[in-house]
Symmetry: C2
Subunit: 119 residues, 2 copies
């Protein structure tokens, strides 16, 4: 058993043009470092955004705290809050913005598929 | 973009002997249904537990709310709370208990590896 933290005190601030007011606390090794999937807690500061870009692989974003707006290929912003999640397909253009700030979990990986409740 | 909820109102209550007072809100398709990795929000009621068993694949548990105790192969219980996470290796015996109740994210998948901060 290995222990680690994911609080805002240990979060990283990636210098990426797509990220505005965003910190990332990884929960796993990165896909870029050979992991088949990756998970992280992402915090968007008030007024921040993860700017529009295509998903490099299938992705789930699950809002834990705060609120914001998400859009997929339609480009239409939809409000999202705690307990709500979205799935974006590989290659899908998407964006996340937040006027009030939000904390979300992002899980990504080749072959990741959305949950569907049994009929 | 597909939307779905993961609040306690939509969580499932798996009938598994290992689970006592545990509900699961999936964030992805299950490994059992062909997904290479899976993520879920797991809620342990006060006094509940995920009883000791070997990890079927590498796993991260990240506590979002509440508190509890976790153990790995040593069998020694360690307190855990919000912002703290553990990684269990494939096959590692582990347990999660909670006197007060807790909400955690669990991510599992073959090849999932713990994050290590760059030196």
């Amino acid at each position: 058993m290995e222990r680690f933290g994911f609080g805002s005190d240990v979060a990283l601030t990636p210098r990426e043009a797509l990220l505005d007011g965003v910190t990332v606390a990884p929960l796993s090794r990165s896909i870029l470092d050979g992991s088949p999937c990756q998970a992280a807690i992402v915090r968007v500061a008030p007024g921040g955004r993860i700017a529009r870009h295509p998903a490099s692989c299938p992705q789930v974003l699950a809002v834990l705290e705060g609120s914001g707006e998400v859009s997929g290929s339609s480009g239409i912003d939809e409000p999202i809050g705690p307990g709500e999640a979205v799935f974006w397909a590989e290659g899908e253009e998407h964006e996340t913005t937040s006027a009030a700030g939000l904390t979300a979990l992002i899980v990504e990986g080749d072959g990741l598929a959305p949950f569907r409740r049994p009929a």
